[in-house]
Each structure stands twice: as C-alpha cells, then as structure tokens.
C-alpha cells in the first residue's frame, strides 16, 4: 500500500507541474479537478487501510467529502464564474512558461534540502512524501503570484489548501475529524466568497486583471 501512496504523491506533484504549464483558465480548473481526484484516491486508500487496522471511518468520510466538494462542486463554481466574466487579458502570466516550470523545479529541490536537514521528519519514505506535499504548497503559492487573472489566484489558493491537506494526511495520518470538516466548510465558503468578489471586480473594473487594482497605494 505504501507503494501506491508514493506513486500518488508523485502524481499529485506532477499534476501541479502540469497546472503550471497550462495557459488557459479552463485547463487550470480541469487539472485542479484531476489533482483533487487523486488526493481523494489517496485518502480513500489510507481510509480503507485504517478501517482494516483500527476500524475507524474518519478518512473514508473525508474522502467522500473531498470528492463532493473539491472534485464536483468547486470546479463547477469556478466554471460558472469563468463563463460569466469577460476576457480581455490574453497573456495571463508575467514570465514565460519554461521559466515558471524551472522555478517549480527549484522549489522542489529547495524543499528537499530544507526538510532533509531537519531531524524529526526524516523517516525513509515518509520523507519523500512530505517533500512532495510541501513543495505542492510552495508551487501553489508560486502559481498564485505568477498569474494575472483573478481566477488564477483562486486556483492557486486552492492548490495551497490541497497541499496542506496532503501534508497533514501523509505526515500525521490526518488531522482530528472536526478540524478536517471545519477546514472543508471554510474552504467552500472561501471559494464562494472569492467567486462573488470576482464578479464584483469584473463589474467595477470591467476586467479581471489583478494588475488594474492599483488605486490604493502608499
């Protein structure tokens, strides 16, 4: 089973690279959906395993909630927001894509070196899974600051949350159940509020280019 989890953690990291390499918003949403599906799969595998060993349902319920919220509902919300917003921003990012991808690679290397020099998180394969998950968080942050469209920032934030959830899952077998549920409810409300804000930005500024939000300075 730990082989499957290793493969899934690498595939999740790979999906973040693919996310970085995409140019269109619809592809971002689709790649995010695939990433959330893989995370749900990993949660499901760990949940079935914990069901056999300790008889606890927690992770399985969490897996179902992930599928309902992150695979089905949030991409649906984002697509609705995307469809109602005009497109005047063509080039979505500041640097070109190969440089962004190389930057992501540096992030993975940097994460590896900083985590491997601290004892306590070192335990063989646990190490690489945690490295993969923490670099997912940093890649999400990098994605967020390298995009100009507001929806890109929302997707980046969602990837950060994904990364944190995966880190918690791989490093500590999941957070307490109430905390996980609270996290998901928070995430859902955050995405809904962000969606409404994107509508309002589009109304007032007639575009979703974040660079135009420059009035308040100093």
């Amino acid at each position: 089973m730990s082989d499957y989890l290793d493969v899934l953690s690498v595939l999740i990291l790979l999906s973040s690279f693919i996310l970085m390499a995409n140019k269109r918003t619809k592809s971002h949403i689709r790649t995010f959906r695939i990433q959330a599906a893989m995370i749900a799969l990993a949660a499901g595998i760990m949940g079935i395993d914990s069901l056999y060993k300790e008889g606890q349902f927690d992770l399985l319920v969490v897996c179902a909630v992930i599928i309902a919220i992150k695979v089905i509902y949030i991409p649906h919300l984002l697509k609705k927001v995307d469809a109602n917003v005009e497109y005047k921003v063509e080039k979505d990012f500041f640097l070109n894509i190969p440089i962004l991808i190389i930057g992501c690679c540096f992030i993975v290397v940097f994460t590896y070196f900083s985590i491997s020099t601290s004892e306590g998180i070192n335990a063989g394969t646990l190490n690489m899974r945690v490295v993969n998950s923490v670099s997912l968080i940093l890649i999400g942050l990098f994605f967020m600051i390298s995009r100009k469209k507001a929806i890109g920032q929302i997707v980046g934030f969602l990837v950060i949350e994904n990364g944190i959830f995966v880190t918690a899952m791989f490093a500590t077998q999941g957070m307490p159940f109430i905390v996980d549920m609270g996290m998901f409810i928070d995430l859902l409300s955050a995405v809904m509020i962000l969606g409404i804000m994107v509508f309002k930005i589009n109304e007032k500024f007639k575009s979703v280019d974040i660079n135009k939000l420059k009035n308040l300075r100093g």
């Binding site: 390499a21 190969p98 690679c105 394969t125 690489m128």
Partner: protein, 315 residues
C-alpha cells in the same frame, strides 16, 4: 550462429510490423471520426507502389540527397537491433546501450536535415530548422529519463534493463518509473512527429515539420524514408513497452513456442500502445510552434523530477 538467426528474426519482425503501427493509428483516428478509413495494411500497399516508380532527383542537389534514404533506413534498422524485442532473443549486441541508440537516431536525423537543405527549396529549409529546434529541445529529456532508468537498473545496456524491470514485479507502481513512463510518452509523441507536436497527415506545407523534409523524395527513396520513420517509431514504442511493461512470457512454455508466444505478446502490447497514441492524437490539437518549448520544458523538468525521486528514494 544462433545469434545471426536471432538478428534476422528481430529485423524481420521490426520491418514488417512498422507499417502496421501507422495503419492502426490511422484506422483508429478514422473510426473515431465516424469514417471507415483506409484499410489496415494501406502503408504496405503504398510502399510497394512507391518502389515501382522512378526516382526523380533535383539537379542542383549533391550526393547527400542520394545517400540519405539509405542512411536513414540503415540507422533505423541498426537501432532496431539494439532494443530488446523479447528477453528470449538476444542478437548478440550485448554492448548496445541507450547512448548508442540515441546517437544512431541523431545520425539519421542529421542527414535528413542536411538533405532537406540540399535541394535549395524553401520548405525543406523550413522543415530542417524546425526539426533542429524541436529535437534539440527534447534531447535532454530523453537522456535524463533513460539515465534515471539506467541508474535504477545499474546498467545502461538495454537487455539488462529489461531483465531488471522484469524482476521487480509491478514496475509501474513506483514513483520513479511512473514519471519516466509519462515522460517517455511525451518523448514518443515528439520524436515520431505526432499531434500535438506535428501533424503527420497535414498537406499544408507551412504547418509541416517532418513531412516538409520529405517533400523532395520520390520512388524508392521515398519508400525508404517512410519505412525508416516507421521503424524509428516502432523502436521507441518497443522501448516504452518493454521497459515499463516487461511481462512477455507465459509460464510453462519453452523452446520455439516460447519465442513465438513472446513475440505475439510483444505485438499485442505494441498494438495497445498505438491505440493509446491514436486516442491522444484525436483528442488534442497541434501546438503552435513556439508553444513547443513549453512542452519540452515540462518534459525535461518531469524527467529531472524522476531523477530527484530516485535520488531520494534510492531504489
């Protein structure tokens, strides 16, 4: 003596199976577009037809144009002798390894690019420059991927690699190999000029990369070039299939029957991969030329990621 027989069997299988792959891909594409499409063996008929026609050569070209088809065909066949088709047949080239395969293909590609420039036609030059850009961008990715696999198998020779992968049980459920597998798919698409890198069925010269270099050939030369390209495609698919899905023997069968069965299993694997390639071709569009560096960067970084995972996991 037995090695020579094995070599002949391997060459015959590769040369005969190569046009079949193209036929399967075209058939699957046609079926998904709700057409009947050309028959499966169409490329064989085409090759026969081309061999019967006369060769017309431009009079401003030099010896390179006459020599290139033979070089391309022979490099393809030579590389074909190095790759493992089954673990039961070892044609004696036990020193053949990854670097030689890549270098042999590079030789063929070099002559192809020169010959396209040789005829002084604009489309040939354009095809050469594009091919140079794409192949130089994808080269690091090929080498890093193959080196990572070689590192895990502790050898860069291809037969030991295939034997090692057979001994690891399910090789795909492993973080390093799954990334190498995905990267290798991207490499196949790039090296064999498939959508999304280059459209093999286009007739618009401005969108061609590989086809543009073939515009000046006719008759037997054209047949050799096409067959060489098809064998190159089959060699890459063989690498993919036999390194990552190395099961090729049924238990309890030995002797000639075992060899025949393993060749049959190999052919089935090749057919499955060609169907997957055809599905990818149908579902994506050709990239803009200047978006190809994005794909190449992604492929290189993914292969580097695979190397990093090996470096940390250590197995």
């Amino acid at each position: 003596m037995i090695n020579v027989v094995y070599a002949v069997i391997q060459i015959v299988v590769l040369v005969l199976a190569a046009p079949l792959v193209n036929g399967i891909i075209k058939k699957v594409k046609a079926l998904t577009q709700k057409r009947k499409g050309a028959p499966l063996f169409q490329m064989y008929y085409d090759l026969f037809k081309m061999c019967k026609k006369t060769v017309v050569v431009s009079d401003v070209s030099s010896w390179i144009l006459k020599v290139t088809p033979y070089i391309v065909f022979s490099t393809a066949v030579a590389a074909g002798l190095l790759v493992p088709v089954t673990t039961l047949i070892q044609p004696g080239w036990f020193t053949g390894d990854i670097i030689i395969v890549v270098a042999i293909f590079a030789l063929g590609r070099f002559f192809m690019m020169l010959a396209a420039l040789d005829t002084a036609s604009t489309f040939g030059g354009m095809g050469s420059s594009r091919e140079a850009m794409i192949s130089s961008l994808i080269e690091p990715s090929i080498l890093v991927t193959l080196f990572t696999i070689g590192l895990t198998a502790k050898s860069t020779a291809l037969f030991p690699i295939m034997n090692f992968m057979k001994s690891t049980g399910t090789p795909l459920i492993h973080p390093v190999y799954i990334i190498a597998f995905i990267t290798f798919f991207i490499i196949i698409i790039t090296e064999t000029s498939r959508i999304p890198v280059d459209d093999p069925s286009t007739h618009l010269e401005l969108t061609m990369v590989h086809e543009a270099m073939l515009l000046e050939y006719s008759g037997r030369n054209l047949a050799l070039m096409e067959l060489g390209a098809a064998i190159k495609q089959l060699v890459f698919i063989t690498l993919l299939v036999n390194i990552f899905i190395p099961l090729d023997q049924l238990i309890g069968v030995a002797g000639i029957a075992a060899v025949a069965i393993s060749l049959g299993i190999y052919l089935i694997k090749v057919v499955c991969v060609s169907i997957i390639i055809a599905v990818i071709e149908v579902s994506t569009v050709k990239l803009r030329l200047f978006s190809i560096p994005n794909l190449a960067a992604l492929s290189f970084i993914l292969s580097f990621l695979g190397f990093l995972q090996y470096f940390v996991f250590g197995r």
